[in-house]
């Protein structure tokens, strides 16, 4: 039995507490961007879980959109509460992943990536043509209440920020512990040699299915959070294939070596994009694409490799 609390868990908690305190000093718009980063980071964390198995999904906007629409729908039909809406998003993403997982757990490589993309584009097509769900305009999402407490605009954003921060911490630690468990350490085994894993008596398909559901839940969480932060759900900015591409982008940007790295990647992604939008609106895609290319070429293990390099230097 390995220790439950290791360096990564302590590091993540410390980073989250520090960021939480620091955020009090930062202006509102920084927290707003950070909250969005946590939403995208959660989806990227789900991709990291799959990545460890050697699987990449080019369609995780599917779960993002389902989470977002589920949250919006619950707010309209049932109850306006941030926690319930988030749970609905996670449940929606998880159920969808559970259902699709039966099919997808048999696929590897580019076929896995493309089948995911096909499903996400089917959802995009459905949402864009569904008038009850607002077609391409989508739906507005009102400010959520917290346990029945209605907050004003600024306070809602503050509450959402801390909600996002603490959830991100819980998810990061949860995924970290999962990856260390027996089931989690099968990731590498599936990637390296699936046949041998099967001979040892484990089911590769089941291991992949579990991962897929985890990534679906995280995707749903990200979508629900995003819906509450931006107050809007729509197919083009939630379900389109470019959004799926952005999630993979974030996973690569941060690096797949550590669960904390995905959130670093997500923060960097939103920061670069917001800065590009602000100062160079005509070439923001060029800047994003250029960043991604630079990372792929020069930092194949993402921003995290800089942290890893620092550690090595200290060790030697």
């Amino acid at each position: 039995m390995t220790r439950l609390i290791d360096r990564t868990v302590i590091g993540l908690t410390a980073a989250a507490v520090l960021f939480g305190l620091l955020a009090l000093l930062l202006p509102d718009w920084v927290r707003f961007i950070a909250t969005q980063s946590f939403a995208r980071g959660a989806v990227a964390l789900g991709l990291l879980v799959l990545w460890r198995t050697g699987l990449v999904s080019f369609g995780h906007a599917l779960f993002f959109a389902i989470g977002a629409y589920a949250a919006a729908f619950v707010q309209r039909a049932l109850v306006n509460d941030a926690f319930v809406m988030t749970l609905a998003g996670m449940l929606g993403g998880g159920l969808m992943a559970f259902a699709l997982g039966f099919l997808l757990c048999r696929y590897r490589g580019i076929f896995f990536a493309l089948l995911n993309m096909a499903f996400s584009m089917v959802l995009w097509g459905l949402l864009a043509k569904n008038e009850a769900l607002g077609s391409t305009d989508g739906m507005g999402v009102a400010s959520p209440e917290f346990f029945g407490v209605e907050l004003d605009g600024g306070a809602t954003h503050l509450a959402l920020f801390y909600f996002a921060l603490s959830s991100a911490l819980v998810f990061a630690i949860g995924v970290h512990l999962y990856l260390r468990s027996t089931l989690g350490s099968m990731s590498t085994a599936v990637r390296e040699n699936e046949i041998r894993l099967e001979y040892l008596g484990y089911s590769a398909a089941r291991a992949v299915h579990v991962k897929y559901v985890i990534s679906g839940v995280l995707g749903g969480f990200g979508g629900a959070l995003m819906a509450m932060v931006v107050g809007q759900v729509d197919p083009d900015s939630m379900a389109y294939w470019t959004i799926s591409g952005e999630f993979v982008f974030i996973a690569i940007l941060g690096g797949t070596g550590n669960v904390g790295a995905t959130f670093i990647g997500a923060l960097a992604f939103e920061a670069i994009r917001s800065a590009a939008f602000q100062w160079a609106p005509t070439v923001w895609q060029l800047i994003m694409g250029g960043t991604l290319l630079a990372i792929i070429m020069f930092l194949p293990n993402g921003l995290w490799s800089m942290v890893a390099r620092l550690r090595e230097r200290r060790a030697s």
């Binding site: 990449v56 089948l115 959802l123 995009w124 591409g245 792929i296």
Partner: protein
């Protein structure tokens, strides 16, 4: 009856431009094992370049049929210039990397090229209707169809035949098939794999640009056309089988006809019918309807 004819003609027109884009993608995937997202940008570049050249041509009051030469010129210019830049400047460094990383790199290059288009051509739409006007229209089943659109079917059929011939009946095609089958052995046998890669990529890029260039006179050329076409091309290629030229043809026809049928009969499902078929094919026959038989390497 009239509806069936309309769906058939519309579907084939749509299929023929999808074929141009899809076949380039499938050839590049077959040879280089690269799922090239920049393909969508090549398409868009082709469309813009063609619209610009056609505009210049008719602006200079030159002989009317030269407009078609401009379409061809646009495809060649875009294919050669961008093909060389992307293959030599980017993909060359990535052939030994993970396939997903390569897709992501081409996605990054796609984002960059999208903004380059905006920088060069701006946000305003371009129109290049002259070649379309020139050819007039034909009545089929009581409805007028532009001859220009119908000519696209002929061009695609010619392309399909030409590619099939080149691949099956020429030395160059034989070399290409050898590289597809086993890169390392081909190199050992003296095939210049680097040159084959570059050549294939340029031809593939030209085909994408030709799709855009030929479509340009029928649409308003505006930002965002590349984003849409690349997923459609993915669908075409996946349906037919990645790396298969006859597959791209079948995939294009399936996608073209089903989209046309959806538009005319059940517009609510228009947007997702294609991806529905794509998912169904991946579930039922993941290698595609007409996948080339691959040797299993252990």
């Amino acid at each position: 009856m009239q509806l069936a004819a309309v769906v058939l003609v519309d579907g084939l027109v749509y299929a023929s431009y999808l074929f141009m884009v899809g076949v380039g993608l499938t050839v590049i995937f077959g040879v280089q094992r690269v799922l090239n997202v920049t393909h969508g940008a090549f398409f868009a570049f082709g469309a813009y370049m063609s619209a610009t050249l056609i505009g210049l041509w008719y602006g200079a009051d030159l002989p009317a049929f030269g407009g078609f030469l401009m379409i061809l010129a646009a495809a060649v210019i875009v294919g050669v210039v961008l093909g060389v830049i992307i293959e030599r400047g980017l993909l060359k460094f990535l052939y030994d990397r993970d396939e997903h990383i390569v897709v992501l790199a081409t996605f990054a290059a796609f984002l960059v090229l999208e903004d380059v288009i905006l920088l060069v051509w701006g946000h305003d739409p371009y129109y290049a209707f002259q070649p379309m006007q020139l050819l007039g229209s034909t009545r089929i089943a009581g409805l007028a169809f532009d001859n220009f659109n119908l000519s696209m079917i002929g061009i695609s059929a010619a392309l399909a035949t030409g590619l099939w011939y080149a691949l099956r009946r020429t030395t160059w095609g034989k070399m290409l098939r050898a590289v597809i089958f086993d890169r390392e052995i081909s190199r050992a046998m003296g095939i210049n794999v680097t040159a084959v890669f570059l050549g294939t990529f340029i031809i593939g890029s030209m085909l994408a640009a030709l799709g855009g260039a030929y479509l340009a006179p029928t649409i308003s050329v505006q930002p965002g056309i590349g984003v849409e076409v690349i997923v459609l091309a993915f669908a075409v290629v996946v349906i037919g089988g990645m790396g298969s030229i006859p597959g791209a043809l079948i995939g294009a026809i399936v996608v073209g006809i089903s989209r046309a049928a959806a538009i005319h009969m059940l517009p609510q499902i228009e947007l997702f019918v294609i991806y529905g078929i794509m998912a169904a094919v991946l579930i039922w026959r993941p290698e595609g309807l007409f996948a080339p038989v691959t040797a299993r390497k252990i």
